[in-house]
Symmetry: C2
Subunit: 210 residues, 2 copies
DNA sequence: CATCCTATTATTCAAGCGTATAACAAGCTC
DNA sequence: GAGCTTGTTATACGCTTGAATAATAGGATG
């Protein structure tokens, strides 16, 4: 007897890859890295398990692609927030964007942490981290340099780098705090703390960034 | 024929639990949460798989116990670093301890991140996080209050809390940066950045904490 | 030294894992 | 509209997983 098969429609390579990556992120966010099995991911993407190997040589490669896309998305959001306007506003918006939804989001955190925990175990993940970290740091440093320049404040390259590292640390740390325990912070508390702290770190007079 | 069994020696409940928890942490650190299987953990602890269920009702409960122990260990190290001495020294040592080995350690990071990624998925992990976070924050706030008091500087409770949150964020963020990419930072760079940043955040004159 | 309790081993179970491969059908090409 | 390419389904394989259960032996108790 003729076996009936599921009907399906073909997709372009890019579409399918994006669907699979999105499904991967969904699965990790909902059930952790353990719950992100080939079968679950395929089901979520509306395809059968075998298809995954047609697009990714191995499951690990798909995870890496998902990690890359996650970080690219975050970078894009925060970069977009800092566009246009004067340097002061751009710097402020960049900082605020990093401690405000959708960046402070338990889904994002869960994904981020799942990937971070693989960094010490797998050089491929370490490379992705490094790239996105350096890109983030460079963006921040550019903002700081422009800000100082506009004010006519002299700051050596080392100073700017040190500031960027410190401010980046603060942003990451507050992002963590706010995302892990959102109920502990009032509405604007995290943003205000972030702005006030950066003002102080840069030795600016209070209120200079608002 | 008589089946020969492996010889073994009984251990006290506390010993065995500690061994199992230590083995759990080892496995997670070396192979990720995915590699921390009941069998691997048992092998690492030198027992057979079945024994785990004698001490922990479920694998998840063992993971939670391991998470608790990890955080307790970190808290203990940083608290110990801040003992004795005057308030300024204690504050400085506390900060430095958090961005210096053994706290900045890829093993610790891998473990921490693996557990963090479970927080949004499992309330039990969220509770453990909350407890250790609040304990850390309280310790830091105590140090700050004592420091301000000694200087005769007035600071409201809200101010102190805000400072503690910000400084905690900075510490966590720098810890992350330094641990994820240790090769990017010179020997004392992270400690110095941390101290200088906290000085600035608290609006102290440069060098006040060194 | 016999007894008893229980920590520990050994074995089994059903389920799920990542991967490999063969059969099928969608939809472009000519 | 016939033919061909290949994206997709379907199925199978060997292995591992967390958990449950039964059998054994360590070692304290009397």
């Amino acid at each position: 007897m003729a076996v009936t098969r599921r009907s399906y429609s073909r997709a372009t390579e890019t579409e399918r890859r994006e669907d699979l990556i999105a499904a991967t992120l969904d699965c990790i966010a909902e059930a952790g890295i353990q719950g992100a099995t080939v079968r679950q991911i395929a089901a979520r993407a509306g395809v059968t398990g075998g298809l995954i190997r047609h697009y990714f040589a191995t499951k690990d490669q798909m995870l890496q692609a998902a990690y890359r896309q996650l970080m690219d998305g975050i970078t894009e959001i925060t970069k977009a927030a800092a566009e246009g306007a004067d340097t002061k506003t751009r710097l402020r918006r960049f900082i605020v964007a990093n401690v405000t939804p959708p960046v402070t989001d338990s889904r994002t955190l869960s994904l981020w942490a799942a990937f971070i925990s693989h960094i010490p175990l797998d050089p491929a993940f370490a490379a992705i981290h490094r790239e996105s970290y350096l890109s983030f740091l460079a963006e921040l440093e550019t903002l700081l340099v422009a800000f100082f320049a506009e004010r006519g404040r002299v700051a050596s390259e080392q100073e700017c780098r040190a500031y960027a590292i410190a401010v980046n640390g603060l942003i990451d740390g507050l992002w963590l705090e706010g995302t892990l325990a959102p109920d502990l912070f009032k509405n604007e508390e995290l943003s205000e703390t972030a702005i006030a702290s950066v003002e102080a770190m840069l030795r600016l007079p209070p209120g200079e960034l608002s």
